[in-house]
Symmetry: C2
Subunit: 346 residues, 2 copies
């Protein structure tokens, strides 16, 4: 391995000077600089990142925490891959790297552990839930001034760094759209309230229904776990209009549940976009793949990942935690055939 020492010798300067050149520190003679650069190129020298991390006491790594649930697909791959890409985009501009940490539920009881080994300078935490243990664990992080940022999750009453989407608005848009299309009896298939975005969506749903003077009947509120299967199963708890006094539309809290529901209904001869209005959420690939294509709420996951990473990198580089930030990005309604009356004939 080529080290600084050899470059220094070849260039006829001290090791310190080599470092100065590579870190662009202090004033230096242009000629010296060129000599060092030339020597470095000749030897194919590259600074050892580990040694740098060691000396700087900074890893240059941003930890990305994902829930590790092999064979359990509560989160869609789309969701994570968008956020990861956003983080990646931000990171490359800062010369940081991304350390992926897949944590089982037990492991995520102790986030501080991740920092203790000093392999990451900050973390972006994805897929976290609001449970007492998580709250405790995250509060410990904050007390120890370890920088972290949550994505798509809000902890009420606590002052964490968060990048969220405006799910109240998104949900409102969805339900509002269904109402505009003339649907009245609109069920809401939500996810667990341990995710703040579930609670937010409930608010948006209630707001839209309230504004339309459309009282919500308790049997219209269903809960799944964000998996396709749970959407499929929810169909059995749902009475749809044609077959009686049921609902004529459904807003589902993500696309996967919406599609599961759609599949189950189809097996009963009920077709989204013809017999029932259906809106999903996330505007994932799946929404475009489904038949009929699924109206959905676009959530800017890519941008959310990017902003979260940005916030963390800034904190690390200024090495001042500073005041915490809460960012909330807008969502958008994307209309497709599953929710439009009269678009689909047979």
């Amino acid at each position: 391995m080529i080290t600084r020492k050899e470059v220094a010798k070849l260039a006829g300067v001290s090791e310190a000077t080599v470092s100065r050149v590579f870190n662009a520190i202090g004033p230096m003679k242009e000629e010296t600089k060129q000599r060092v650069l030339l020597a470095a190129k000749e030897l194919n020298y590259h600074p050892n990142a580990i040694a740098q991390s060691f000396a700087r006491r900074r890893s240059g790594n941003l930890g990305v925490v994902l829930p590790y649930l092999p064979k359990v697909h509560l989160f869609s791959a789309y969701y994570f891959s968008e956020i990861l890409s956003g983080i990646g985009e931000q990171i490359r501009q800062h010369g940081f790297d991304m350390l992926l940490m897949l944590l089982t539920p037990e492991e995520s009881m102790d986030y501080a552990r991740l920092y203790r080994s000093k392999k990451v300078d900050a973390c972006v935490i994805l897929g976290s839930k609001d449970t007492p243990e998580q709250r405790r664990s995250l509060q410990q992080l904050q007390e120890q001034k370890l920088p972290f940022c949550l994505v798509n999750q809000h902890f009420e009453g606590l002052d964490f760094n968060e990048v969220d989407a405006d799910h109240v608005q998104g949900s409102y848009l969805a339900v509002r759209h269904l109402l505009d299309e003339g649907y009245r009896d609109i069920a809401f298939l939500n996810g667990s309230a341990e995710y703040s975005n579930s609670k937010d969506r409930l608010k948006g749903y209630q707001k839209a229904m309230g504004e339309a003077d459309n009282p919500v009947r308790p049997e219209w509120l269903l809960e799944g776990n964000y998996s396709r299967k749970s959407g499929y199963e929810a169909a059995s708890r749902l009475i749809v209009k044609p077959s009686g006094a049921g609902v004529d539309a459904v807003f589902a809290a993500n696309d996967r549940m919406a599609i599961g529901l759609q599949q189950a209904l189809r097996e009963r001869g009920i077709k989204a976009g013809r017999d029932i209005g259906l809106v999903g959420c996330d505007d994932s690939d799946a929404a475009k793949l489904s038949d009929p294509p699924l109206t959905s709420i676009y959530v800017p996951f890519f941008e959310m990942g990017k902003r979260a990473a940005q916030g963390m990198l800034e904190q690390v580089e200024k090495s001042t935690p500073g005041s915490s930030f809460q960012i909330k990005l807008p969502t958008q309604l994307v209309v497709r055939k599953s929710s439009i009356r009269g678009e689909i004939q047979q």
Copy 2:
């Protein structure tokens, strides 16, 4: 930060002894060990991973290389998330971490760069293509004895570490199934030949057709780029039987193209599973979500990631490159409605 020194002092031993306890090296008195452990716990000591890496000249990181194509979705999120999970599963057993590296096409011209900074000990490379530049870059890696493993990609004539699936077999199973269902004029929507698995699938297709004495007509061979859109567009280059002397079935090289094709055909009133037999590949989420559900070829991506990581970790730990390995895992046919005759009535 608590260091080894403080633990040593509190336990009344030398620093070396603390290291020995934490690395379980050499024989030691049980009592000494306990004393050290107790002191460590009292101080909440955790070894500094960066310092360890520095001293051991090993990062303890496995690099995972992904193509960085923001906003271009040639690869499905499913594909990567399965492989990543597999790698993650393997890695946690070895105490390694995963460094995610998103590389633009230009950056992947020089893989060696990734190792130079010493942030990774080995790499698993995903989504690579067989181009002259890639070959060159990978060969350089090999010459420098930098350990790496390709997943789902084979470089003919070169002796790289590879974990692949048996795509010849998968494709054979798919076409064989269509033939068994009574389809005869079977088109093949393939991806770019820069991916070895595309070439493999062509072989499987030809083999099955050949065995059935079913000569392949050139207009049955279509090419897309693995995106849904390209599948959609391929429909315009396809003549389907009901409307003349066209094909009565299609095997697509991945699910996304299959579904894009399915969508385009449906717009023309041609329904998979009723008017045409359709088989995809990957058995991704999308196959289950589509309507009708898509018959597909299961590819063990999770296991492939796991095996690739395993191979790399073993090489790193033995620190002997040894002989290279080529692993090829079997695929499976998963039959759903899109390919079964007479299942769908209207």
